[in-house]
């Protein structure tokens, strides 16, 4: 695990500046925009070189939209995405291509993210050829090297994706992302679809690769165990906003936001002796991101909400180690 201090000293590799992504809801014969799904609603975030930032939250909180916006699969509605100091938010597809080699993504579902009609060798050779990573004559050698790095046998090159298990497919996905020698990899729930005994293999592989190739990860997940294991810092999202961000130690040992605490409490612990521990169980569901509650977005489910919380939205305040968006943290 990187110690946070030496990470912080260098300028961030990626900065999100008031990032917003709204999806319009259209209705009627004129197809007018009647409302917006506010998937990401003003997110500020920095990722430093060599670190792993974990992004957690429940479904629909906007965590995947952030990941997809960073690699250019979604165009942000507002705000800037600074990669190495350069705004990449509004880039055209053509301009994005040259950046793709530096920004890669590993998807959740290893079953749908690989073309079933291509052999592994083709799947891995394609990005190498498009981006001219190695001369054409060396492509085959490079494919072998990639397979070796992610721990797949050499004879996998001539096989099709359906011949592999979920964990092995995820390794192919990782090899494909690595082939371009990226600096930042967005891991969008890379282990959620895998069996428990396979999850650990893939998490360990991601960790080893990070050390070996000095990679920076944005690790998106809803499983807190995996996030804690792999992340240096963690950001907690709720309804399109970051409600708390801090070092992994701070978030787990000293959670400040009532939502973070509820999330930690709700997570099933693999120790039956702790089953009767005191825990906050939140009531109700996450409100709709079309009409997020006024004031603090969490106040409708917050066990300690007061009048102030309904009026103004709290800002994220704190230092580099720990920031929280709550008027009454840790009460």
């Amino acid at each position: 695990m990187n110690s946070h201090n030496n990470v912080e000293s260098s300028p961030p590799l990626l900065t999100l500046d008031h990032l917003k992504k709204y999806y319009p809801i259209r209705k009627g014969i004129l197809n007018r925009i009647v409302d917006n799904v506010k998937a990401v609603d003003g997110v500020n975030l920095s990722i430093f070189p060599g670190e792993t930032l974990g992004l957690v939250g429940e479904s629909g909180c906007g965590k995947s939209t952030i990941g997809r916006s960073i690699v250019g699969l979604e165009k942000p509605t507002e705000g800037r995405i600074l990669f190495d100091g350069k705004d990449i938010a509004g880039l055209s597809t053509g301009e994005m291509i040259s950046l793709r080699s530096q920004l890669q993504i590993v998807f959740q579902d290893p079953y749908s993210s690989l073309n079933p009609r291509k052999r592994v060798s083709e799947l891995l050779a394609e990005p190498l050829k498009v981006h001219r990573i190695v001369p054409d004559k060396d492509v085959s050698k490079e494919v072998d090297r990639l397979l070796d790095i992610v721990g797949l046998p050499k004879n996998s090159r001539n096989r099709f994706p359906h011949e592999f298990s979920g964990g092995q497919r995820q390794r192919i996905g990782i090899a494909r992302a690595l082939s371009l020698k990226p600096r930042l990899i967005v891991c969008d729930e890379p282990v959620s679809a895998l069996d428990v005994s396979i999850q650990a293999q893939v998490l360990n592989l991601l960790k080893d690769l990070q050390k070996e190739f000095n990679l920076t990860y944005l690790f998106i997940a809803h499983g807190l165990g995996a996030v804690r294991y792999i992340s240096d810092r963690i950001a907690v999202m709720y309804l399109g906003k970051i409600v708390e961000i801090g070092t992994t130690k701070e978030i787990f040992e000293n959670p400040q936001h009532p939502y973070t605490r509820a999330l930690l409490d709700a997570f099933p612990v693999t120790n039956p002796r702790l089953r009767n521990r005191k825990k906050t169980v939140l009531q109700g569901d996450v409100p709709s991101p079309v009409n997020p509650p006024m004031g603090c977005r969490f106040h409708t489910r917050c066990p300690q909400a007061r009048a102030e919380c309904q009026e103004r939205e709290p800002e994220l305040v704190g230092d580099g180690l720990h920031s929280v968006a709550c008027y009454f943290p840790n009460e």
């Binding site: 695990m1 429940e58 479904s59 298990s165 964990g167 092995q168 069996d195 428990v196 005994s197 396979i198 999850q199 650990a200 293999q201 998490l203 360990n204 809803h222 499983g223 807190l224 165990g225 995996a226 804690r228 294991y229 992994t248 130690k249 787990f252 509820a262 999330l263 930690l264 409490d265 709700a266 997570f267 099933p268 612990v269 693999t270 120790n271 039956p272 002796r273 702790l274 089953r275 825990k279 169980v281 939140l282 009531q283 569901d285 996450v286």
Partner: protein, 333 residues
């Protein structure tokens, strides 16, 4: 205590293009009244097929021709389909993983709730409606009267799962089979649903057969645990023993490969090498053989029996508990 549901040597097979595939092989367990028994395993381990075999919901191409499923002494595998309908929903009911697809989208919540109540409890329209509303209130749904006339699409995933639980418990079954009841839900909603199921079943004395892949859910809910691997039970123990002193190498490996919230910083996660075998039919010996750190040649050729290793803790392993067992790894603490 007398067991409520006793499954012995259950075998379920499917006809496929490649011939007969046995997906549940020699599974035995018993469920006492009011108890929560968890069946835990990875995908393809046969845990859901076990549940569906008990409900006899597997349909054409499946054979459950070996073994017995005794519900209070009656073998339900021998019942006529008509008699089985009396058992389903009334004595054994089931909650499925997907709350999105297990409700019929073209009928109102009220219609679907009342259908079972009228059929099994012989209640009239008015009476059934009143019982349905009581159940919806019990599972903590807001404005139950209005919800009766709403359609499933208007509800969130968590609310639908509450409706499913209300429906499953409306006829006061003796056994509730919950097949991954919280897997499709968010963590905060999962916590609500687990608490709700536990409370309602305790109140009514209903036994729960919980099918899950999540050892966290097992630790929170179960009294006893059955670990399945490749169609077979590999370990059975009470929940505390299982988490404190897992015996089977597979269980040990599983417990070590979960990233824990209370792990020390920088602790390395251990993983089980390889993957679950897909063609375990042809394996003569132990099905965990090629991933096991204790495996010997004997394990390759001989299938170990599920036997009592220590005070009611069963494991299917030749090596474990043998004097001089190679302590390759210490037990999970």
């Amino acid at each position: 205590m007398e067991s409520l549901l006793a499954v012995s040597h259950l075998q379920t097979a499917f006809d496929t293009d490649q011939g007969k595939v046995i997906s549940v092989d020699d599974v035995s367990f018993s469920l006492k009244p009011g108890e929560t028994l968890a069946i835990v395993g990875e995908s393809g381990s046969g845990k859901s097929v076990t549940a569906l075999s008990i409900m006899r919901l597997l349909g054409r191409g499946s054979h459950t021709d070996k073994g017995q499923i005794l519900l209070e002494g009656t073998d339900i595998l021998k019942l006529e389909e008509k008699q089985m309908r009396d058992v389903r929903g009334n004595q054994i009911s089931m909650v499925f993983q997907e709350p999105m697809t297990s409700l019929n989208p073209v009928f109102t919540i009220g219609y679907q709730m009342c259908e079972a109540i009228k059929l099994h409890l012989n209640q009239g329209n008015k009476e059934a409606r009143a019982s349905a509303i009581t159940m919806l209130r019990k599972v903590g749904l807001p404005r139950p009267e209005e919800m009766m006339d709403e359609y499933p699409f208007a509800l969130s995933g968590g609310m639908r799962q509450r409706v499913m639980i209300a429906m499953a418990l409306s006829c006061k079954p003796k056994v509730l089979i919950a097949d991954e009841p919280t897997t499709a839900l968010d963590v905060t909603v999962q916590a609500q649903i687990m608490r709700l199921m536990k409370e309602l079943c305790e109140e009514a004395g209903t036994a729960i057969l919980l099918i899950t892949h999540d050892l966290g859910v097992v630790a929170e809910m179960a009294d006893r645990v059955l670990v399945m691997y490749a169609g077979q039970v590999v370990e059975e123990a009470d929940v505390y023993t299982l988490f404190d002193y897992p015996k089977h190498p597979y269980t040990r490996g599983l417990l070590k490969s979960i990233p824990r919230l209370d792990a020390a910083e920088g602790e390395q996660l251990e993983s089980i090498p390889g993957a679950v075998p897909t063609r375990y039919q042809s394996m003569k010996g132990c099905r965990f053989y090629n991933r096991c750190y204790l495996a010997t040649e004997h394990c390759r050729d001989h299938l170990p029996p599920l036997e009592d290793k220590e005070a009611g803790q069963l494991a299917r392993c030749w090596e474990v508990g043998r004097t001089g067992e190679r302590v390759g790894e210490e037990a999970h603490e």
